[in-house]
Amino acid sequence: MEVNPMNETPVLEIRNLEKYFTRKGGFLDSLFGSSKEPIRAVDDVSLALDQNEVQGIIGESGCGKSTLLKTVIGLTDPTGGDIFYKGKPLSEFSKRDWKEFRKNVQIIFQNPFESLDPKFTVRESLIEPLKIHDIEYSEERIHDALDRVQLNPPQKYLDRLPKQLSGGEKQRVSIARAIIVEPDVILADEPVSMLDVSTQAAILRLLSDLTEELGLSMLYISHDLSTVSDICDLIHVMYLGRVVETAPTNQILGQPRHPYSQALIDAIPIPDPFSDRPRTALDGSPPSPEELEAGCRFKDRCPERMPRCDTAPKKVETDPDQFTACHLHYEESDSRPNTEAALQGGNTQ
């Protein structure tokens, strides 16, 4: 496994997580016995998030990052593998554990325009999570939360409704709402993708500072590699349900080893009319997760495709701390593709 076994237990650990959706055919399908392949939204994903660590999960729409998030917070049950919170698997959670978990793991959503109740003032939005988690309400606590997200002075904002706030201010309120219950882990689902560039950097810096000050861990989910460097320590690049590469942020931006990571980085426009960046070499869009073939999932779009790609590549350490699942980076002889495929479960179809 690519995650180093640490001495202390990770705050949040995902081990070989799988989420397959079986598609229900209609009445007639069951009558005619046409069975359908499951959709492998998340396939064998592992990661370990230590205290005060920020990891990014990067991928295009449809790569499974949202499903991963939903599974992590227990909105849907995984079909394989498990998730551990402070060493305890979610599958063995009691009701009380869940309550604890829901308080300690907070989410910040993509769209601040929808995640705040339009009829709640800022104060009410902040009181709500306290009520839910039976935390004593104090004006001081609310002021402190607003202060931390740099909505100053707090009095100015307390009685405003979401429609009286700008996009960036709304997202700050969402963040305040997440940190007011003093969680250990923040799951941020594309927190800046709806914001203007001028505010994006501010929100990212705020999140980064907060994790530092409060000792939080964070999973940061995004489709955009250009904004992760400010905030993430480690990046996982996801493609069609699998993590194809994991590496420290600057390492992956500087020397991506997986052709897909390379393509993601190469496609980012550069704010410089003199740069002669070539346009992407990739054609088309990712295949539908319903019709996956065996082997590497990126093979049909990969400029480096080889015959070997028909077997699933295993993840190897290509550089210190950098793990890549691509046949380019290891010799056939040191791999045991058959066992590997069998171990990964379901890759052989």
Binding site: D196, S198, T199, L225, N250, P269, T280
Partner: protein
């Protein structure tokens, strides 16, 4: 110099609301030359969409050009009726790629039916000629020509975007207005779309007006740029000039707010606040509340667009302190504690 293809002259656009008129665009001027790709950049609330919609009669029913002129090939079009727009402008001369391309194709029509209908209204093409032409365009935008008879819901988001682009190119317009054509797409898909637009640029003499919040896209794909803030044009000129020598404080800050993947450690600039909503007449610089260098004069009048230097053709900036910019820029670097490795050397 030739006559501009499209020219905005001191255009002011207002929306009537129950709180009074809201000025979305005030005194905006800039022009697009034939065959040129031009980018209009601004944050949400800058009025960029409003400005371009006014060209093709796409404003909401409470919006109206209240002052200034929009000239298309020298003719005033700002007061055209629906009928005149249909007869003379829409798709005959100017086509449009909407922001919400995912919802813009009629779900009850095959894409080819929609193309044939547009052709029957605006051209003399027969049905089979129209289909032939549409197939070619599908090829150009990277869609398989045998899918022209599909319904929109059979396409993915990126494919719908391409089909919309094919429809925009369909009747060889003189100008394409593209309103945030790739905002909803992933980076790879966005780059693919621009790859096709590059091809259009190389092979036709179509002009394009690209509206976006993403300055990098404009720097890469356009020759000219206009930066819009709070309904006012702050700065306009060639992308090279604005890149090398941004003069308006907003362009300077905006450029520094953009991440550059080549320099992941560079600290990004933050522009506090947001463009104001302007009720009634606008009599000040719309950037004044956010500007680090604002002086009293900025509150009293809206600064006019003026040439920045004699050496740079068409490079204009609307700031009372244009002359002091270079000194101020140095101050900014110090203020923000910028430790960036300098401008990229190419």
């Amino acid at each position: 110099m030739t006559e501009p293809l499209l020219e905005f002259r001191d255009v002011t656009i207002q929306y009537q609301t129950n709180r009074g008129p809201v000025t979305a665009v005030s005194g905006a001027s800039f022009s697009i030359e034939p065959g040129e790709f031009s980018g209009l950049v601004g944050e949400s609330g800058s009025g960029k969409s409003t400005l371009v919609k006014s060209v093709i009669g796409g404003l909401d029913s409470n919006g109206e050009v209240t002052a200034g002129k929009i000239l298309y090939k020298g003719e005033e079009i700002q007061d055209y009726t629906e009928e005149e727009l249909n007869e003379k402008i829409r798709w005959k001369e100017i086509s449009y790629i909407p922001q919400s391309s995912m919802n813009s194709l009629d779900p009850l029509q095959r894409v080819s039916e929609q193309a044939v209908e547009i052709a029957s209204v605006h051209s003399d093409l027969s049905k089979s000629e129209a289909l032939e032409r549409f197939k070619e365009l599908f090829e150009i935008v990277g869609l398989s020509p045998d899918r022209i008879d599909d319904y929109p819901h059979q396409f993915s988001g990126g494919m719908q975007q391409r089909a919309i682009t094919a429809l925009a190119l369909f009747l060889d317009p003189a100008l394409i207005i593209a309103d945030e054509p790739t905002t909803a797409l992933d980076v790879i898909m966005q780059d693919q779309i621009f790859k096709y637009l590059d091809r259009v640029k190389a092979n036709t003499d179509t002009s394009m007006l690209l509206i976006t919040h993403d300055i990098s896209v404009v720097f890469e794909s356009c020759e000219q740029i206009a930066v819009l803030h709070g309904g006012q044009v702050c700065e306009s000129g060639s992308v090279e000039d604005i890149y090398r020598n941004p003069t308006h404080p907003y362009s300077i800050l905006l450029q520094r707010a953009f991440p550059d993947i080549r320099y992941p450690d560079r600290k990004l600039e933050i522009i506090e606040g947001h463009p104001p909503e302007q009720l009634g007449e606008v009599t000040e610089c719309s950037f004044v509340e956010r500007c680090p260098w604002a002086v009293d004069a900025c509150y009293e009048n809206a600064p006019p667009l003026e040439n920045v230097s004699e050496s740079e053709q068409n490079h204009q900036s609307a700031c009372f302190r244009n002359d002091e910019t270079h000194a101020l820029k140095g101050e900014l670097t110090e203020l923000a504690g910028l430790t960036d490795g300098g401008e990229p050397n190419e």
